[in-house]
Amino acid sequence: MSPAVPLEESDDEVGNLVLGPPEIARALTRIAHEILERNKGGSDVVLLGIPTRGLPLARRLAERLEAVEPGLDASRLVGSLDVTMYRDDLAHHPTRTIGETDIPGGGLDGKVVVLVDDVLFSGRTIRAALDAISDLGRPRAVQLAALVDRGHRELPIRADYVGKNLPTSTTERVRVLLQESDGRDAVLIEGGTR
C-alpha cells in the first residue's frame, strides 16, 4: 500500500467513480445522525476504526457527532482496533504488518461500540474485530458502520449503518480513497465485466 501518493489522471479511466467527495460527506453525516438517533445520544458511544481506512472514517464520524451533539469530545470518542492478530487467513498471505490498537480512556465495558470500516465484503474482518473486542472488554452492544457494503458475505454479519450499498461481482475491486491517506476522497469500482 502506498499512502499519500496522489493518483494520476489515468486512474479515473481504469476505475468507475461511484462516490465522489460530496456523496461521501453526505453519507457520513447521515450515518452520524443515525448513530445518535439509534443510541439516544452519544454519551456511551465509542467509535473504533479498523486500520487503515476505517480509522480516518471513524475520526470524521466523531467530528460530526461532536458538531451535532453538544458535550461530546471527538478525540475521546475515537479509537483504533487492529484485527491482524485475530484474522483467520494469516496463513494464506505474506506476513502482515500489525497496526495500532488504541482504546479511548474509559475502556469498552458497558459502552456501545460502533466498528467503522471502509468496505464490508466477506465479513471476515468484522468477525476478527468481534473477537478482538471480546478480549478488550465487554461492551453493552456492538454495531457496525461501513462506507460501502459490496455484498458477498461469507458469515452471518450485517452492517447497522451503510453509506452505500454497492452490488458488485466478485471479480470486481472496490477501492476507497480518502484525503488522509490517498490525497482525495473517492470510491471506485475496477475490473470485472459490466
Binding site: H92, E100, T101, F121, T125, L136, T170, R173, R175
Partner: protein
C-alpha cells in the same frame, strides 16, 4: 525470513521490522487478557540441550501468549542422554509436526545444521549456540535501548544511530556480545568492547567495534549511553578464573560495575545485563538495583521480542488465497 540463526543475517529493514512488531506485541501485554489467537494450531518445540531458565520460559511464554502449542524438550531426562544424535531427535520432532524449533545447543552452529539439513521443515530459531550467537537476546537488548534512548515520542521505525554502547566483561565466551555487536552495528550504534586482554577473542579486529582494556577510561572518554555488563562465564573456564584473570576480586576492581563507576556514567545512561547476574563479581548490588538498571525490563521485553519473532516466522504463508479479499484487492489495485 524463514529462520532466525544469527543477527548477522538481519538487514536494517528486517531488524526494524522485528523491533516494531515487538512494540505492537508489547502493547497487547498490558491488557487484562494477554492471550492472542494468532498462532492457534501451530506447534513450537523448545529444544534445549543446555540449561536455561529465562530464555526457555521466555520462549514458552511468548508461544503460549500467541496460542501456539508448546512442547518442551530438554536433553536431561530425554533420549539424548541415551546417546541419540541431533539428527534423530530432529526427525522425531518433524514426525510430530513441529512448525518451529527453538534450539539451544552447546555446540556453535547446531541451529545452522538443523536449518540447512532438511531434517525438519519448520522454522529454526537460535536460542543460543555455544559461543556463537543468541539473536533474540540481542534483539531484546536493542528493543530496550531504543525504548529508553532513541528520544521522546513514538519510537516505531527508528534505528539506534549515534548511540554509544559499551559491552563489558567476558566477551570471549559470550554469544550475547557477538550477537549484539552485529545487530547494534546494523542499527547504527557505536560499540566499544571492554574486557581484560585474556577475555578478548582472537580476530576481534574484524568485528565492527572498538576494543578497550580499561573500563574507567571508556566511561570517562566515550561517555557511553548504555553499559551492557556480561556475565563472567565461569562454567566455561576451568577453575576459579581459569587463568583468564588472577582472582575474582581483581576482576571486580578493574571491570566490575560498582557504585563509583555507576555515578561516573552520564545522567541518561542505562545499565543492561543479559542475566543471570553474578552479584559482587561483574556487577555490584548497588548497580544491579539502581533505577538505571533496566535488567528486569529486559526480561519483560524478551517476551515481546520473541512473540514478534514467532509471529514473523510462523504467521504468514505463501499459499495463494482462494479468492482475493477486498483488503487484498485494494492492496493490489
Amino acid at each position: 525470513m524463514k529462520h532466525l540463526l544469527s543477527t548477522a543475517d538481519l538487514t536494517l529493514a528486517d531488524a526494524i521490522r522485528i523491533l516494531d512488531t515487538a512494540g505492537s506485541m508489547a502493547a497487547t501485554q498490558g491488557r487484562e487478557i494477554k492471550k492472542l489467537p494468532t498462532l492457534r494450531g501451530r506447534t513450537v518445540v523448545n529444544l534445549f540441550f543446555e540449561d536455561s531458565t529465562r530464555t526457555r520460559i521466555s520462549f514458552e511464554t511468548a508461544a503460549k501468549r500467541l496460542s501456539a502449542d508448546v512442547i518442551n524438550f530438554s536433553a536431561k531426562g530425554s533420549s539424548v542422554s541415551k546417546g541419540e544424535s541431533l539428527k534423530d531427535t530432529a526427525l522425531t520432532l518433524q514426525a510430530m509436526g513441529a512448525d518451529a524449533v527453538v534450539i539451544r545447543h552447546h555446540a556453535s552452529g547446531a541451529p545452522h545444521t538443523l536449518a540447512t539439513s532438511g531434517w525438519t521443515h519448520g522454522a529454526v530459531i537460535n536460542a543460543g549456540d555455544g559461543m556463537h550467537q543468541h539473536p533474540t537476546q540481542a534483539l531484546l537488548d536493542a528493543y530496550t535501548l531504543r525504548r529508553h534512548l532513541s528520544g521522546p515520542g513514538d519510537v516505531t521505525g527508528r534505528d539506534l544511530t549515534g548511540l554509544r554502547v559499551a559491552i563489558v566483561g567476558d566477551v570471549l565466551h559470550s554469544r550475547v556480545a557477538r550477537s549484539n555487536v552485529q545487530l547494534l552495528h546494523t542499527l547504527g550504534a557505536d560499540v566499544t568492547l571492554v574486557a581484560p586482554p585474556t577475555l578478548v577473542p582472537v580476530g576481534v579486529e574484524a568485528w565492527p567495534a572498538k576494543v578497550s582494556y580499561h573500563l574507567d577510561e571508556t566511561i570517562a572518554d566515550d561517555k557511553p549511553d548504555a553499559v551492557m555488563m556480561l556475565r563472567v562465564q565461569r562454567e566455561r573456564m576451568s577453575s576459579a578464573g581459569g587463568g583468564f584473570f588472577p582472582s575474582p576480586l581483581e576482576y571486580t576492581r578493574r571491570y566490575g560495575l560498582d557504585a563509583r563507576r555507576l555515578a561516573a556514567l552520564s545522567d541518561h545512561a542505562i545499565v543492561l545485563h543479559p542475566g543471570p547476574m553474578n552479584r559482587g563479581l561483574e556487577i555490584s548490588a548497588d548497580a544491579a538495583d539502581s533505577p538505571r538498571a533496566v535488567i528486569v525490563e529486559q526480561v519483560a521485553n524478551g517476551v515481546a521480542v520473541r512473540m514478534a519473532v514467532l509471529y514473523l516466522l510462523l504467521a504468514g504463508g505463501d499459499a495463494a488465497p482462494a479468492r482475493p479479499t477486498n483488503d487484498e484487492a485494494k492492496v493490489n489495485a
